[in-house]
């Protein structure tokens, strides 16, 4: 599949601090790509470099297989960190400026405002907007040029639960239209709910990059308890990837295509009866924490 974005060895140093460290990434067309990492891990800095507001120290990147230019940026809809608009101008006037810069038709303004449900408030000054409305306006602004790629940086930051749900719905709807979306977030839950692919950054370095499904698949565990000892039997089972003992329970990581049913049947065949069986899909959160912990030890 054609890559929308390709990054090679990108590095940004602020004096002695390395904000982005030799980062290489590929984002495919149609992906909803999450950049996941705790605060200060270099997400905004990376996006800032990709959008030419921050000067890189070294490395390369290309959009749509072309070197980055202002013309390429006109095809991207992006917001970094917080919604940025002229506070003394109305939503419409602000979007007219965006349209003029992007050389997009002003006819796109009305549908964009309707999509984010701000059309009724279009003539109110930006500074009178609530945070949720500001976030929605910035999404509308990113939609003005009917972009091939949307970049959203912590789009739900500071919102109440309802606002968060609204924005996530909006992102999913936009993704469903086939647009490529790059979403930076420190919230696992958000990435898991919205993204198809993701990478994990820590202190500017890439820890992991892959698809959300992939990481979900190999991660099913089953908790087993029984009156007899089970280690021998469980370890001999071909469906087990790993068996661990935790406070009187066995935690079995299943191999692919296996389920608790198979495990139960196997035990029964061995003349063993389980008193407790619990399937657990290992959450992205757990894996994320594990990834961070691994890198700590490394």
């Amino acid at each position: 599949m054609e890559n929308v974005l390709s990054i090679k060895g990108l590095t940004k140093r602020y004096g002695r601090l390395t904000a982005v460290n030799d980062l290489s990434l590929e984002v495919g067309r149609g992906d909803v790509f999450g950049i996941l990492g705790p605060n200060g891990s270099g997400k905004t800095t990376t996006l800032g470099i990709l959008l030419d507001v921050i000067n890189k120290t070294s490395g390369e990147f290309s959009w749509f297989g072309q070197p980055p230019t202002k013309e390429v940026r006109k095809r991207i809809g992006a917001i970094l960190e917080t919604p940025i608009f002229y506070p003394y101008l109305s939503a419409v006037k602000n979007l007219e400026i965006v349209a003029a810069i992007k050389e997009a038709p002003t006819a796109n303004i009305e549908p964009a405002l309707k999509k984010v449900e701000l059309f009724e408030r279009k003539d109110d000054k930006f500074r009178t907007y609530s945070l949720g409305m500001k976030q929605r306006l910035s999404i509308a602004s990113a939609l003005i040029c009917d972009p091939e790629v949307m970049i959203l940086d912590e789009p739900t930051n500071g919102l109440d639960p309802q606002g968060i749900a609204e924005i996530r719905e909006l992102i999913k709807r936009i993704a469903a239209e086939g647009k490529t979306i790059i979403l930076a977030s420190h919230l696992l839950d958000e990435v898991q709910k919205v993204c198809t692919h993701f990478c994990v950054l820590k202190k500017g370095s890439l820890l992991y990059s892959g698809s959300v499904d992939e990481i979900g698949a190999g991660a099913v565990t089953v908790e087993v308890m029984a009156d007899q000892a089970l280690d021998g039997a469980l370890k001999n089972w071909t469906g087990a990837k790993e068996v661990k003992q935790e406070n009187g329970r066995y935690v079995v990581t299943l191999a692919e295509d296996q389920s608790a049913v198979g495990l139960n049947r196997y035990l029964f065949e061995q003349g063993l009866v389980a008193s407790h069986l619990l399937t657990q899909k290992k959450s992205l959160e757990k894996q994320f924490l594990e990834l961070l912990a691994e890198s700590e030890n490394a």
Partner: protein
């Protein structure tokens, strides 16, 4: 370029402070000649006696003297227009809108050009107002106007334009360097006196270079006209040499702004 000018005007035309400051500056331009007249009338009314000379007959606002006289006074007021430039450009940094403009698809060069286009337009507008004010005032007060006299010395309006444009570009540079508007306006206000003190204290051997300092070289285009009314010799033409030096400074300022923008993380 027109596209970039349009973008910048979209930002400004609904900005109240922009209009308020522009209108104030315009009123200042229109108001000064009337102020001068009122002053002369007042001199007359208190019976100031210049050996039976009527102060109203001093040809301050007569063609062709008027051009150098008013443009010289107007160049002293350019700080008011600079405030507009400083506020609107520092806004772009405090609101971070410059960052969003770049993200949306302007290059840093485009941003610079769009601001220069507005500065050019402001300077041009002021110059046209000065031209109009000069023509009307001259027509009112000059006894026996002849058409050829009217435009004699009108090149001072061009010098005024260049002086204003140069100062506004200088204000742009200072804003980019200092970012904060109040500080920038303060520095702009004390810069000229500081430059004058510096020039006055230059060692004898390099005294001459004082004339080429940025604001000094610009102010050298239009010399102080008033000593002529006490029969002193003055430079009553626009110094082309200093027009060239001023242009050079403007190019340098623009280059400095561009380099600074290019090197900055926004």
């Amino acid at each position: 370029m027109l596209r970039l000018l349009r973008i910048d005007l979209l930002k400004l035309t609904s900005y109240r402070a922009f209009w308020v400051l522009n209108i104030l500056y315009g009123l200042l331009i229109i108001g000064i000649p009337s102020g001068v007249i009122e002053f002369l009338k007042w001199l007359k009314s208190i019976g100031a006696d210049f050996d039976n000379f009527d102060p109203m007959k001093i040809p301050i606002l007569y063609f062709p003297d008027i051009w150098q006289n008013i443009t010289y006074v107007y160049t002293l007021l350019k700080i008011f227009m600079a405030i507009i430039v400083v506020i609107t450009i520092s806004n772009e940094f405090s609101y971070k809108t410059v960052r969003q403009n770049i993200i949306d698809g302007l290059s840093r060069g485009d941003f610079l050009k769009s601001k220069l286009a507005t500065i050019f337009l402001l300077s041009l507008g002021s110059s046209l107002l000065v031209l109009l004010t000069g023509l009307i005032t001259g027509l009112i007060y000059t006894p026996d106007v002849s058409f050829s006299e009217m435009f004699d010395g009108v090149e001072f309006v061009f010098a005024y334009f260049l002086d204003l444009f140069g100062f506004l570009v200088f204000a742009f540079l200072m804003t980019i360097l200092l970012k904060r508007s109040a500080l920038t306006v303060f520095i702009l206000m004390i810069y000229r006196p500081v430059e004058l003190i510096l020039i006055a204290n230059l060692p004898k051997a390099i005294e001459g270079i004082g004339n080429y300092f940025p604001l000094q070289s610009m102010s050298n285009m239009i010399e102080v006209p008033f000593p002529r009314y006490i029969f002193r010799e003055i430079q009553d033409y626009v110094s082309l040499g200093f027009v060239a030096v001023s242009l050079l400074w403007i190019v340098l300022f623009v280059y400095a702004i561009y380099s600074k923008l290019k090197a900055s993380d926004l």
